[in-house]
């Protein structure tokens, strides 16, 4: 169970960091952002894929930190990027059905 605790802590820490960073970048009142942020999408994809498919505690923890960073952004930001990251990670998980490190 220790690994799940580590994942939860890193995900929560990533979310808090993402929230702080996002508020620093965007101080304006709420706007529903329609723009797709490619660098954040890459971070999200890397995060979720590492988190679900790496099969290694440290890599998964880093993955959940990155995934939490994008998902934890202030409301209106990081939604599409998180959705894309999650979908790709689920596809990779289903296709591989085994941890990447075992390939």
């Amino acid at each position: 169970m220790l690994d799940y605790m580590i994942y939860l802590i890193t995900f929560a820490a990533g979310s808090i960091l993402g929230l702080l960073y996002s508020y620093k970048q965007h101080g304006e009142p709420f706007v529903a952002v329609t723009k797709f942020n490619v660098p954040f999408a890459i971070v999200s994809i890397a995060g979720w894929v590492l988190g679900f498919c790496s099969g290694n505690v440290i890599l998964s923890a880093i993955g959940f930190l990155l995934a939490g960073f994008v998902m934890g952004e202030r409301p209106g930001y990081g939604r599409k990027e998180t959705a894309v990251g999650l979908i790709i990670a689920i596809i990779v998980y289903v296709l591989l059905k085994r941890p990447l490190c075992m390939m």
Binding site: M1, L2, Y4, M5, L8, I9, F11, A12, S15, I16, L19, F30, A32, G68, M71, G72, E73, R74, P75, G76
Partner: protein, 290 residues
Amino acid sequence: MNLMAEILIQVIIAFLAGSLLLGLHRKVMARVQKRPGPPIVQQLIHSLKFFFKETAFPKTVSKVFYIGIVFILALIWVVGVIVGPVAKDSLLILFGVYAVYKIVEHNSGSSSGSPYGKLSCVRAVLSAATELPLFAAIVFVYMVTGTMNIGEIITYQSVHGPLIYSIPLAALMFFMLILTKSPYSPFAITKDKVLISGFETEHFGFLRGFMLFSEAIAWYVLLWVFLTIFFGPLNAVGYLIGMIVISFVTGFINATTPLLSPNHSVMTQITIGAICFAGTALMIFTGVVA
């Protein structure tokens, strides 16, 4: 692993997962109501923030009782974690934990000396109507599986399939308890906004922090027990998906349903409980459930 370490890890998991799920619940409610809503992690930040806030003590409180009750609240849900995810012990102890929670809810309101707290304390007695369907659900699980032990119930389900297929109405009764416990529930008469925050109104600073800590653990434990005793042996991904789905569903129900008045709430719970009880009893005694 050392038992104490196991308990500590499980309590941290329960707190973090419960807080994130409650954050998701708030987010779902907000999106249904066309609000952006707070970030999912906000509930967790909120809980941690209260531990560092100044704690004020109203003049009307019964001090020892007022302070002691929040520690008891935290303690009973830690016991819930020990009995459930750690030891996979008897369902009857978990029923006891929930019953004590009702008493704590009652006493927390009465210890504050506030009229809001006292009214919430009276309503906590009425809201005990939730415990009857819970007890009935546990009895039916016992009648079908022949055991109260969670570990043995999991083993039973791994052989005979999940109990949700054989006694769905008992699962519905248990789900009603989860719905009642969820924030902004139509049955949450003890935390009616007319009563500000109900029994929590007069608890500030780190005392409120302990209350939010307990709420997060309580949410996790209830979802864990529901998924475990009705959906059979699940792995971590199964629990994750199940907990997210239930938080999503309860969030949707709570966002679209007004809070019922105490008498309507109790009658609705009793009526649904009675229908489910009669239906499950009929299924068991007519041999539909093997």
